[in-house]
Amino acid sequence: MSTTQHFDAIVVGSGISGGWAAKELTEKGLKVLLLERGRNIEHIKDYVNAHKEPWDYPHRGRPTQEMQRNHPVLKRDFVLNEETYGMWANEQESPYVEKKPFDWFRGYHVGGRSLLWGRQSYRLSPLDFEANLREGIAVDWPIRYADMAPWYDYVERFAGIAGSLEGLDHLPDGQFLPPIELNIVEKDVAARIKKAFGGKRLLINSRTANITQPKPEQGRVNCQYRNKCWLGCPFGAYFSTQSSTLPAAMKTGNLTLRPFSIVSQVLYDKDKKRARGVEVIDAETNQTYEFTANVIFLNASSFNSTWILMNSATDIWPDGLGSSSGELGHNVMDHHFRVGAGGLVEGYEDKYYFGRRPAGFYIPRFRNLGDEKRSYVRGFGYQGAASRQDWNRDVAEMGVGADFKNALAEPGAWNIGMTAFGEMLPHHDNRIYLDKNVKDKWGLPVLGMDVEIRENELAMRKDMQQDAIEILEAAGVKNVGGADWGYSPGMGIHEMGTARMGRDPKTSVLNGFNQVWDAPNVFVTDGAAMTSASCVNPSLTYMAMTARAVDHAVKELKRGNLS
């Protein structure tokens, strides 16, 4: 064991929520150690593909057989491609067990999945925070929308969210930059949908963490409409740890960033009932270190934050810190999707577009609002876009030759498509667990996944497809077709739950400020904390929740309540 170093606070994980924890803690004057299990990626300098065009890739973006052999999980979806190769966790070094199919797409590097995220940013609504209580599902959230609203304001202003004000109770407005525009077809379809459904169903601008005005104070340039966000943005035009929170934390002079640092456990002082630090395995040297701190933030991504808890204080609780509730590892959620519809929009042959948007349109939830009661609870929203067909289309009766080439060189008809993202209920039997028979490269036990979608999600999926067809047909879209491409838990890349917040230590892992009931100086503010999933993309909520928890942590530190 090497010498122990002390910090005011330790943050485990440098993704979306970890970056926020580091920024907030350092700006409040704390000396912070930010631990990241993977390699460093420096803003701009290390975005190696940021300026590449399709022809700069030997396989034009498609995965090779070797890439597929290396990534048997990643290859199950679009995420395995030549452009982002090297930005996903090594599956041989870090395996996991699928008791039931689970697609776990992980980013093990500084910035985590903040470099790879979809950037869709919506607030949970009052309805979302009250749903568990009203329906008697799982446990009640210990917080309400009013608790979160000022923190949503706060993180939106800093991160920069482009969006439109709509005045909807079930999708609260925020502090928005001008929206990413809809194209002419989307605008007209939006008007037709509004008319057809009397305003009950709406097609609106997506809300996305791409800035539409520069943020010179952060050194960020507005979106350049390249649609290459996943390659890392050299303009800093979308929110990531690297573009936004890390530079802010660095500027304070209070941050120490340590890559290649795998946290194997939280060190627990049973007399004080407080964590005293963390144990770290250096991923390159395998050497073990101890770092101590007054407060610890776990932001290792939902499942890995829970994995750390499961491996901590096992001399007192065999199933780990936070397991006294019986809920640690349980209530896994994701957003179930890959179901929707699309079709052809007639006309607009004299219209096209300039620029490549990083986002399309959004159709907010409209099911089970007010008095409506479907055969399932909760709801779903749609994300989609309209565009003109490209060269990859069928040109009727044209096989090969000059006319064929010239026809494909021109854009084809307009089409429109949308995919639903549905809420998944927290269910105790949907769980992750430690599988001690399988070890990773560092000899650590790995996670097993035992998760499935159930009756409520399956019933919802029927509406997710049927409603998409109905909406598009009502808007005059032709040849509308619906589909369900099938979904395994995890594919949404929105893992949530496993260390839920609640009002009672007997049924929840965290309290209303994300503190572990059994160790109040340990905060979990990533997706693990979610008590229910809503149907909206979750990252903005992790940001707001983290800023709120840090504010509380620092106040509690000053009051002497955490030592």
Binding site: T64, N183, N227, K351, N392, R393, V400, A402, N406, M418
Partner: protein
């Protein structure tokens, strides 16, 4: 367009999903990979050029589509798929010689078009019946290789590396080219 937002509604020009290492054709992968000869690549170039010829804009040969196909098939196809592709190239030449008494390389332009058109129809029929035809592979890779090449993307289609703005209501007239990327 954002990856998850958009449905893959478009039927590819060949009527089937992109072939290349998916579960489409996984079987007993016991063969060893076949290498592409210079003659293979030259033949692929000529087939590709017949599918996408040079007009007042560049064609498949200008974009070195034959070379691209050899790399893509070797690296991205399963061994089973590679075997179908290589066997297909032999079938192609055999059937060409049977019909015309000459190699494809020696055919007149008109004969090349006639032969490739006939293959295209046969391949479409096979795909429609749920089968697979080597010509579908060649045609897919020709289209993919050409329109994602620098020549195809910038001289046949249009490309602006840094648009800097978005206009969702741009005027379009017939003959204007499509964008190379979404």
């Amino acid at each position: 367009m954002n990856r998850r937002e958009l449905l893959k509604l478009i039927a590819a020009a060949t009527g089937t999903a992109m072939i290349g290492g998916s579960a489409l054709l996984s079987g007993c992968a016991t063969q060893t990979p076949t290498r592409f000869s210079a003659q293979n690549i030259a033949l692929l170039d000529e087939i590709a050029e017949t599918i996408l010829p040079r007009t007042d804009t560049p064609g498949a040969k200008d974009a070195q589509v034959g070379q691209f196909m050899s790399v893509f098939v070797t690296d991205c196809y399963t061994l089973d798929e590679q075997a179908i592709f290589h066997k297909g190239l032999m079938t192609f030449e055999d059937s060409c010689k049977k019909t015309y008494g000459r190699s494809f390389m020696k055919l007149q332009q008109k004969e090349r078009e006639e032969f490739v058109n006939q293959l295209d129809r046969a391949a479409k029929a096979d795909i429609a019946a749920g089968g697979i035809h080597y010509f579908t592979m060649i045609k897919q890779l020709t289209l993919f290789g050409f329109f994602t090449s620098e020549v195809g993307g910038t001289q046949v289609l249009r490309h602006v590396p840094i648009p800097g703005r978005f206009d969702g209501n741009m005027a379009y007239k017939v003959g204007d080219r499509g964008w190379a990327t979404k």
